[in-house]
Amino acid sequence: MWKWLHPYAKAERAYQLCNTLLPYFTVFTVVCLVVGWVWGLAYAPADYQQKDSYRIIFIHVPSAILSMGAYSSMAIAAIVALVWQLRNAELAVVAIAPVGAAMTVIALVTGAAWGKPMWGAWWVWDARLTSELILLFLYLGVLSLYHAFEDKKSAGKAACILAIVGVINLPIIHFSVEWWNTLHQGATITKFDTSAIDPSMLWPLLINIVAFAGFVGVVTLIRLKNEILQREKHRPWVRDLVSRG
């Protein structure tokens, strides 16, 4: 594994790897996204209880899952970056953060848009919603810390440390918020029994989750390329690349 991975620790190889992977990811994502959305919006049967409003699930659940998935992969990259001193892992942390934040925003917005017709309120202080909001704060913290540093080497390391601190705290935060919520629960909230979801709805949902994951991959690859370029600006290989067009 290490032998296979090691050459990619070099910036130029990593850049090329991103370039080769990008088309596959893009095609895959576009196909999944189109299929998932069309199926979810037009072909999946309406829910007998929530009617057509449940179609929001096809973007809400994927974005919520990916917002957490992106954070955990970011934290893993941060640990790799700090323990093995891999520069590219550090760049990956910074590359994932904006997409993760975007996923969190989507999850929050769609959650609100779904909550209004179902619960009668745009926002309730439900445990999941609150944790998601805090997750957004953590993402924004990593991003603003990274951008506050002039020297991007220190910035990357600082962002890594914060990402790790955040991932240690995230379960504690989620647990405490959930616990706080059960204490203070005022309005009754209908919880959807997701395990009993019909296959005709499950398939488009799964396709959408895969599509969103693909999207996170695509944007991460693009941003990783950017970050590598940014760091290696002065190196000959970047200059060759640019002057070649």
């Binding site: 700090l82 805090i134 704060f137 953590l138 924004l140 913290g141 603003s144 810390l145 506050a148 540093f149 080497k153 220190s154 390391k157 600082a158 440390i161 914060l162 790790i164 601190v165 955040g166 240690i168 705290n169 504690i172 935060i173 647990f175 405490s176 918020v177 616990w179 706080w180 204490l183």
Partner: protein, 228 residues
């Protein structure tokens, strides 16, 4: 010339230096306390003076005020040492950095957290707290404020190299404070219903134990990043 010094003596040296400095400029101790007091007085002015309402909200208010006043002193924990180069000297010492960091964080707590705990009975009067609630508030503050210092110092260490790190630090640290706030206020709430609140205190204690071990490590690596 080298040697018979122990880890304990290093700890004392760092801890005592910070305390000496704080006592030389008394504002450092007094200002967060005054801030604490002012924030607390703002609430009755904003929401009205009814005693029932106030005592219902008191735990939350006291804790939010404690959070904010801890933030006030945090920026100073590493800033001066960073600016005058003492931080480099600490790193270049043969002793492990997390130990010096632990001493500095505890010094911060002694300067800002402990006075708040000691002053809490006074604030309790302002908020119509009875003795039962007061004990609970004191206990949660006693366990919770060191936790705030530990978590906050991570943010302070990450932003010490930035000229205007103060606001950014609050943005990084406040979300991490949420669990402390939840468990502390819930302990006080539970005690107001005359129920046992040992569970919440135990969770706070567990978080403090984890933070006391992990935070110095995180802070040390953050400081090394900031210095480089």
């Amino acid at each position: 010339m080298k040697a018979s010094h122990s880890y304990w003596q290093l700890f004392c040296a760092v801890y005592c230096k910070d305390l000496t400095l704080a006592f030389r400029q008394r504002a450092e101790i007094v200002n967060p306390l005054l801030f604490f007091l002012i924030v607390i007085t703002l609430f009755p002015l904003a929401i009205g003076p009814e005693p029932a309402l106030l005592s219902r909200m008191a735990p939350g208010i006291i804790w939010v005020a404690a959070l904010l006043s801890t933030m006030l002193g945090l920026d100073k924990v590493f800033r001066d040492d960073f600016n005058d180069g003492s931080l480099e000297q600490l790193i270049a010492s043969s002793y492990p950095l997390p130990l010096s960091v632990l001493a500095k964080v505890l010094a911060h707590w002694t300067i800002t957290g402990l006075p708040m705990v000691l002053m809490a009975p006074v604030f309790a009067l302002l908020m119509n707290l009875d003795t039962q609630l007061l004990t609970a508030t004191l206990l949660t503050l006693l366990i919770g404020t060191p936790l705030l210092s530990f978590i906050g110092a991570i943010g302070a260490a990450l932003t010490v190299a930035l000229q205007k790190g103060g606001i950014l630090m609050s943005l990084l640290v406040l979300p991490l404070y949420i669990p402390v706030l939840i468990f502390a206020t819930s302990a006080i709430d539970t005690s107001s219903m005359s129920l046992a609140y040992g569970g919440q205190l135990a969770i706070l204690g567990a978080m403090l134990a984890v933070a006391a071990v992990m935070a110095p490590l995180a802070i040390s690596s953050a400081l090394k990043v900031s210095v480089s």
